[in-house]
């Protein structure tokens, strides 16, 4: 169970596929238009329950509870050997210039 007042992230469907704008590519028109937003849980709940939250600006939003205590997961990704190759190309080009 996740306690009332915990900081959480919810997901909400704002428009079903049939409710979406007519001027969008087919693949987009087949999927719902959704929102993620974070805030303080207004009552005790379990993951995937439909809950109400109070956002940091004081608004209320209702949606499915997806995550408690959301953290930032983006970082610097995997090792990309091509970056070392780019650096090598640049330094080689410059070395040739310095010898000319």
């Amino acid at each position: 169970m996740i306690d009332k007042n915990s900081y959480v992230r919810i997901r909400k469907t704002l428009l079903e596929p049939k409710e979406r704008s007519k001027n969008i590519p087919k693949e987009t028109s087949l999927v719902p238009f959704k929102m993620w937003v974070k805030g303080f849980l207004q009552s005790d709940a379990d993951l995937f329950d439909i809950v109400t939250i109070k956002t940091i600006t004081g608004r209320y939003e209702t949606g499915r509870l997806k995550e408690a205590y959301p953290c930032y997961k983006h970082g610097y990704g995997d090792f990309i050997p091509e970056i070392l190759e780019i650096n090598n190309i640049i330094l080689n080009d410059m070395e040739k210039i310095n010898h000319e």
Binding site: P25, E27, M35, D93
Partner: protein, 460 residues
């Protein structure tokens, strides 16, 4: 169709009007045009006042550096006597890490002045962080609305980082899935909160950048005794280009060539759920640059203050691989680690410099901050995860969404021209069936920076 969706879209003009505190109808001409200069100069912000507001908020007077090593590198591939000196304005030094703070400063100042309780902006880019930072300083609440994830709940790492930065300044971030319906929810939030729409396209959003044009003109004049021959500007929604060009001209640099540069994302649809995570640039690309040039008023205000075809002398594109390549060159040759998207104009300048005399000066007018998510490593790592192939070769053979081609060596990094007359023709398409008056033609001539005779030619 959802009734609420239709309801908000039909109320859009009323909602927007209240949220920018600006009556656009007073600038409208009879016919198709409007008084652009009056709209820009009618908001009570002159240069002195803008500089004061920005200075008090740690914005502007960013370092102008000569990229001596990159210039030397470019000259390797130029004919004798060619290879313009490349200068760079380090806009990452602004509050919140990009030139966008210049734009946010006036919007947030205006919101405070008019007594709004909060500000709201629709942006997945650096502008969100800028609005959030300035709102924090002014004690205003802030909501940033982002297009953020696809139907598989996968987000661009760059956009996740921008969300984090907005939250660091105390803003609420509303993240939406792919699609133009973002505008509907944006309107709904404005209506619900009564906050000020800190639009990128209001006169405040553009006038704030005029100081950047002034700084470039004056600083180059002080350093080398002349105005720069060219200033190159990364172009997406058109505001950066419009504001910088206006500032340069206002400072007297009327002969400086205004060059727009965008990342080539031809073939990727901006509203496509499938294409969303196949691109490695979320801004500064042709997917915004082209449509906003040919129809500036597609923005979130009735009349956009960003009108790039009024100022653009030349428009070029570079591919994703070239921008990543130059991002590395900036780090390992000049000791400046800066965000990839902001280096679009730098990549173009490297190639353009080779077409200019070695006594000429080309100024790259921005950099942006870099960090987790918003960096060459996670962005390439994300591309690879989305089955985009990374390879070396001729970057101009790159197919956006399929591969990223890095230059095999510096000689392969070449810009490609975008035909401005083709853009002008596209702009004019919607007026073909309308009976136009002399006043309309005069307006179109200013909009497209060509003679009335040329407007008529392009319309055929």
């Amino acid at each position: 169709m959802n009734n609420e969706y239709q309801e908000f879209m039909s109320k859009r003009n009323d909602i927007i009007l209240k949220s920018v505190g600006l009556d656009y109808s007073k600038y409208e001409f009879k016919g198709i045009g409007f008084d652009y200069e009056l709209m820009m100069n009618d908001q009570g912000y002159n240069l002195e006042k803008i500089i004061k507001i920005q200075s008090e908020n740690m914005i502007g007077h960013t370092p102008l550096v000569e990229l001596k090593n990159i210039t030397k590198y470019a000259r390797k591939f130029a004919k004798p006597g060619y290879g313009a000196r490349i200068f760079l304005k380090d806009e990452a030094a602004n509050l919140s890490g990009s030139f966008k703070a210049r734009r946010a400063a006036l919007s947030v100042h205006q919101a405070k002045k008019l007594g709004f309780k909060g500000v709201i902006a629709a942006t997945s880019g650096n502008y969100g962080a800028a609005v959030a930072a300035l709102a924090a300083k002014e004690g205003l609440k802030c909501i940033i609305v982002q297009e953020s994830f696809d139907s598989k709940n996968i987000s661009q790492p760059e956009i996740l980082e921008k969300a984090r930065k907005c939250e660091a300044y105390g803003a609420e971030v509303v993240q939406l899935s792919v699609g133009p319906e973002l505008f509907y929810y944006f309107l709904k939030l404005i209506d619900e909160t009564g906050y000020f729409n800190a639009s990128l396209y209001s006169p405040y959003g553009i006038k704030g950048i005029e100081t950047l044009g002034h700084e470039i003109a004056n600083e180059i004049m002080n350093k080398v005794g002349k105005f720069p021959e060219a200033v190159i500007i990364t172009n997406a929604g058109g505001g950066n280009l419009t504001g910088t060009a206006r500032g340069l001209k206002d400072a007297g640099a009327i002969d400086t060539l205004i060059i727009g540069a965008s990342v080539n994302l031809y073939g990727l649809h901006m509203a496509s759920d499938d294409d969303f995570n196949k691109k490695s640039f979320t801004t500064g690309h042709t997917g915004f640059g082209i449509p906003f040039s040919i129809f500036p008023d597609r923005s979130d205000v009735p009349r956009s203050a960003a009108r790039p075809l009024r100022y653009m002398d030349k428009y070029v594109m570079v591919n994703q691989g070239s921008v990543f390549f130059m991002t590395e060159a900036l780090a390992i040759l000049e000791g400046m680690e800066r965000g990839p998207a902001g280096n679009t104009s730098l990549a173009a300048a490297f190639s353009l410099s080779q077409t200019m005399k070695d006594t000429d000066i080309i100024v790259v007018q921005e950099t942006e901050y870099t960090g987790a998510g918003k960096h060459i490593l996670p962005q390439l790592s994300f591309a690879r995860k989305n089955n985009v192939e990374l390879k070396f070769g001729n970057p101009n053979k790159e197919i956006p969404g399929k591969n990223i081609v890095f230059p095999k060596d510096g000689s392969y990094l070449k810009h490609q021209d975008i035909d401005l007359n083709e853009l002008r023709k596209s702009y004019l398409k919607r007026y073909k069936k309308i009976e136009l008056t002399d006043k309309d033609y005069d307006y179109l001539s200013k909009e497209l920076m060509v003679s009335i005779k040329k407007v008529k030619e392009l319309m055929i």
